[in-house]
Amino acid sequence: MARINPDFTEELRDYGAFDPNACYNCGNCTAVCTLSDEDNSFPRTMVRVSVLGLEDEIKSSLDPWLCYYCGECSTTCPREADPGELMMSLRRYLIAKYDWTGLSGLLYKSLTASIIAFLGLAALVIWFGYSESFNLEVIMPQGHLFEMLAIGSVFTIILLPNIIHMWWLSMYKPGVKASIGLYFKALGDLIVHMFTQKRTLGCDDNQFRWFEHFILVLGYLSLLFTTVFLNWFETHNLFIIILGYVESAIIFVVTFDFVKSRIQKNKEISKHSQPSDWLFVIWLLLMGLTAFIVRLFIDLDVLENNSWMYFVHLIVLVQWSLIIVPFGKWSHFLYRSFAMYFQKIKELAV
């Protein structure tokens, strides 16, 4: 017996849900969704539990992660209830619930908090630069070091506990019985999904979007590798330099296309944008662009006289790795991969 909580949708609205209450439960959204199948029928069932405010059902559900937001459900919704956007909002809601620090929820719900965090970190970087007299010789290796530390600590302190929390909510609590062996068996799926996001291909006419995404993920990961482990900014290896250019160019070109479609709102997926969506694409664009320009300045030998450029890059980088990666939209990518992994285990366990 579950008790209905009609106020829940009010809370959900803070995460961007459009109007799930408008739903009259025709099931059209589920029927048009190519990712929905007999084992996982959504989004209508998620809309329903959201409207009823059955929080335990939502928290234990992995369905929101199975959706890639092609937007078909929303364009064809007879009541304009926007189930696609609801699924998106549920993902944000779930991240907020997984996140032990509570910062994700705060940043999603409050634009002010986000702005303060971004400005705060920017100030911190500038203060750090000031303390080192803006000497790039000193600062660049420090920046490089920060990258490595940030990756390690964000993952171990925030993301790993959150994933464990996610597992607890979606696997342990609902009583999924799976042997350790299954966890190993499904591991392959985790890797594949994480790097290819191949499930998107299940969506109709989504091939190009998937390709863009795939290229972006490859570009992003390899740029990360190139800067952190191949030390792109300080290397003299021509191959690495060119590789870095290509990678960063890919990032800003692809993200530019994303930003453009968000502005034009010509696709269902880009009709509604939450601040976190904007921040993600713009910062990714800035990351690629500033990295590109910094290396360009180095190669043109003008960075010494334009050290501000490096600081811009560093600010973007710090904000990215301390806000967007652990709490922002970047984390979707991680949770989604794990959701897929858990889902696979669930399927194997049955």
């Binding site: 025709c26 099931g27 059209n28 589920t30 029927a31 048009v32 064809t76 007879p78």
Partner: protein
């Protein structure tokens, strides 16, 4: 229009639309002694109803009810019927004073002389899609619209005609006349009743249902014709390949209650006509399964809920869930994807024929006809009822009344009551002229 010789006619009331509602209004007024001009744009009066198979919830055959009404209208001394005609302009000249410019399109047949022998039809070499059979079969360019049409007289479809003259040669009373031209009448009237009816939703607007692309996906109106006494195939067959279907699906709310196609309201009749067709199909094809995919069954009228129960008892399957999309198999069968709401699971089902229960949309145009005062429409583009609770037939223009589905979706009994209401209000409006 300047040099034309326009005939002037005088009547008490102009009724625009000769469907069942307009007909009821006209008959009531005529029975009270008022002179009525009934203008119908199609070639026959009787509206959509005359083309139906049977009517719910009594399963009376539609023709049995419509034809006597239609012949009563056609015969009534106080009613003049113009078919193939429409009002071009109506101007209000004052209280109880309207001038209507009515266009009579040429039929190329002298209606009074035609005996309906169909020899011209036999002689005509041309074959084009028959709109009165909703495209299921062809018809000739010289044709009688349908067997129970009123007037039951031939007409020439001049757009498809090759002017070979074959029809003329065989016509016994020599009633075919290609010299006919458009005639315009200036009709002076005291009151107007608009009974312009509705049009059906065009399922091409929902490409994922594959109408026209998949040949065994038809509209409910086409099924209505397949089930009617004057049915095009003599029995129910798939238009795709002539197979006798044994597993038929109904997709309710096609174009109704759907903001994504711009029609948020319920069409009020689709549930019931689908249930009716399902019952008829079970009678016509005893081995067939019929499944109705629905959102909510709107069985609200007198005897409707009982009729719904009757269909369930007969074995019609009701599945709660809107059909999301339809795909076609090699053999012409169709796969319907839907969520079984009760189970909360997406499912696919195979049917060999799919009927789209298309909704009702307003027939636009009448609001443009009134030239010095715009006829107000409601938010859904039906004719606005100015005093809906106390005087449902009143429109925004005094002296202009609305009858039947021109003001919104309605079933036949409601249309007839609405037709009665329009005639009642017109009567009291007309009587006021004498008391002033």
């Amino acid at each position: 229009m300047m040099q034309e010789n326009i005939k002037t006619l005088e009547y008490d009331v102009l009724v625009v639309g000769g469907g069942i509602a307009g007909g009821e209004s006209a008959l009531n007024l005529a029975n009270l002694g008022y002179k009525v001009l009934l203008v119908e744009k199609e070639l026959s009066i009787g509206g959509k109803m005359i083309l139906l198979s049977k009517v719910f919830p009594t399963l009376d055959c539609a023709a049995c009810i419509t034809t006597p009404k239609v012949s009563e209208i056609a015969r009534h001394p106080n009613i003049t019927v113009f078919t193939g005609a429409e009002p071009l302009k109506i101007s209000k000249k004052g209280e109880h004073k309207f001038d209507a410019l009515v266009l009579q399109k040429p039929r190329y047949v002298d209606v009074d002389a035609c005996t309906g022998c169909q020899l011209c039809e036999e002689a005509c070499p041309v074959s084009v899609s028959d709109e009165y059979q909703y495209g299921l079969v062809g018809r000739k360019a010289a044709y009688i619209p349908f067997s129970i049409a009123s007037p039951r007289a031939a007409a020439i479809d001049i757009e498809s005609c090759i002017l070979c003259g074959a029809c003329e040669k065989v016509c016994p009373p020599n009633c075919i006349d290609f010299t006919q031209t458009e005639i315009k009448y200036l009709v002076k009237i005291k009151s107007v009743i608009t009974a312009t009816g509705f049009k059906l939703f065009d399922p091409l607007k929902i490409p994922r249902y594959g109408y026209e692309k998949y040949k065994n996906v038809i509209t409910s109106m086409q099924m209505e014709r397949e089930l009617a006494p004057t049915r095009p195939f003599n029995t129910v067959l798939r238009p795709g390949d002539g197979k006798m279907p044994d597993n038929i699906a109904y997709v309710l709310c096609t174009g109704s209650r759907d903001k994504s196609v711009g029609n948020p309201i319920c069409s009020q009749i689709c549930c019931m006509y689908s249930i009716k067709q399902a019952q008829l199909l079970m009678g016509a094809l005893p081995m067939a399964d019929v499944t109705i995919y629905y959102l909510h069954i709107r069985a609200f009228g007198k005897g409707f809920n009982e009729f719904y129960g009757q269909a369930q008892d007969m074995g019609v399957e009701f599945m709660k869930g809107k059909v999301g999309k339809i795909t076609e198999k090699e053999n012409g069968n169709l796969i319907l994807r839907y969520e079984d709401i009760e189970a909360g699971v997406v499912k696919e089902a195979e049917h060999d024929m799919v009927v789209l229960s298309v909704g009702i949309l307003p027939n636009l145009g009448m609001e443009e006809v009134f030239d010095n005062e715009r006829l107000k429409l409601d938010p859904f583009n039906f004719i606005d009822q100015a005093d809906i609770l106390a005087s449902p037939a009143k429109t925004s223009i005094e002296g202009v009344f609305v009858s039947g589905t021109a003001s919104g979706p309605m079933d036949i009994p409601d249309s007839i009551l609405s037709g009665g209401a329009a005639s009642a209000e017109a009567t009291s409006y007309l009587r006021k002229e004498n008391t002033i």
